[in-house]
Amino acid sequence: MLRFLALLATAVCLTAGTVAAHHSAAMFDAGKQITLTGTVKEFQWTSPHCWIQVLVPNPARPNAAPLEWGIEMDNPVGLSRHGWKPGSLKAGDKIVVVAHPLRDGSRGGQVVSVTKDGKPVGTGLATPK
């Protein structure tokens, strides 16, 4: 579904005559990237979309409970094509997630890449053809 959304974003851009910018009306701000360093609470390998629930320390309150972020991914078929497996992440894994943030400021994003123990999980980027 998000793929169709991406197409809609393209449509909006085309209408506005700003194809290259790819700033869109979508919920994720494709023009921004955030980096989250935290601990996997849950890796949901499910259709229609996989999710990583990651606990990220609150920089404003280091002693408080970490904040939970929801990071949306492709579906399992799409992730498999990028070398991901159902067990690629487990609760407790220390990860670094790069994501396009939600534009409304809530704690969510669209995954760009994931690093675990300093190594990329899957390929993350566009599939080489």
Binding site: A11, G78, R107
Partner: protein, 271 residues
């Protein structure tokens, strides 16, 4: 009488009375298969090649999708007015809440409507037999194209359905598909719906244009709504990094997370 003899006797009676067509000899069927092109493999619309793990389209995909979004339907004045109103409503909805643009006008987690589904964002396969070509994808968009020489059913046996009635024939390695009785509510690639007339009619010319590409030149006709035919070209790229067709639509509102909440795209944080 042993069961096998009973079955044999029944088959002989049916064949003698014309109740069941006698199957073609195996050699004839094998010969029929040998004349058909080989479109085996897994495919996806070239709009979606190279997308990232967050489903962001690749630069190549964006470039490939642009012609579909910018193509202009030759609508007559009455339908152009309807189109413009729908486009304005869509633009207003997006502008009103750019963080959460409206969802496409069809149920979430169901196969997209006919025209949108031709460029379905999923993996797909073609099953080619002498009698039928079947298009199947991983979001359950399934087309049955009958190539056994039949005509469309008579008008009093047709009614509009999601996929309509498709018959096909081969011209060399090109499959010519004729589709009628489609529900006339088209969902266009900019996600607004446009109600066409019951005269809506599609003709497709589908062929392999290289080992790794299948092309569908689709022409839409609607003499009530349009001043002439409207042609879109869809291209499918061979998928080399997937070996299985897996259903992507197994979602429901209870057990799975769905990006659509109250009819609008969203992302759910926590649960």
């Amino acid at each position: 009488m042993p069961r096998v003899l009973l079955v044999g006797a029944l088959a002989a009676v049916l064949a003698a009375t014309g109740c069941s067509p006698a199957p073609a000899p195996l050699s004839e069927r094998v010969a029929a298969f040998e004349k058909l092109p080989d479109w085996s493999g897994i495919w996806e619309p070239n709009v979606f090649v190279g997308e990232g793990i967050g489903q962001a389209l690749s630069p190549e995909g964006l470039k490939n999708g642009a012609p579909l979004l910018t193509a202009k339907m030759p609508l007559n004045a009455e339908w152009q007015t309807k189109f413009d109103a729908a486009a304005r409503a869509q633009a207003a909805a997006v502008q009103a809440d750019p963080d959460h643009p409206p969802a496409p006008p069809y149920p979430p987690c169901s196969p997209p409507p006919f025209l949108l589904g031709i460029a379905s964002p999923a993996l797909s396969q073609w099953r080619i037999t002498p009698e039928e070509v079947t298009f199947i994808d991983t979001i359950n968009f399934v087309r049955h194209i009958y190539t056994d020489g039949r005509s469309h059913p008579p008008a009093d046996e047709l009614w509009p359905t999601k996929m309509g009635d498709s018959i096909g024939r081969w011209e060399g390695d090109t499959l010519i598909v004729d589709t009628v009785a489609i529900k006339p509510r088209l969902v266009l690639f900019t996600f607004f719906a446009l109600d066409m007339s019951e005269k809506l009619h599609f003709v497709e010319r589908i062929r392999m244009v290289g080992h790794d590409e299948i092309q569908n030149e689709l022409t839409m006709e609607d003499p009530v709504a349009m001043t002439g035919p409207f042609t879109l070209t869809f291209k499918y790229a061979r998928v080399k990094d997937a070996t299985r067709m897996i259903d992507e639509t197994e979602c429901d509102q209870i057990t799975d997370r769905n990006p659509i909440v109250n009819g609008r795209f969203t992302a759910i944080t926590g649960r």
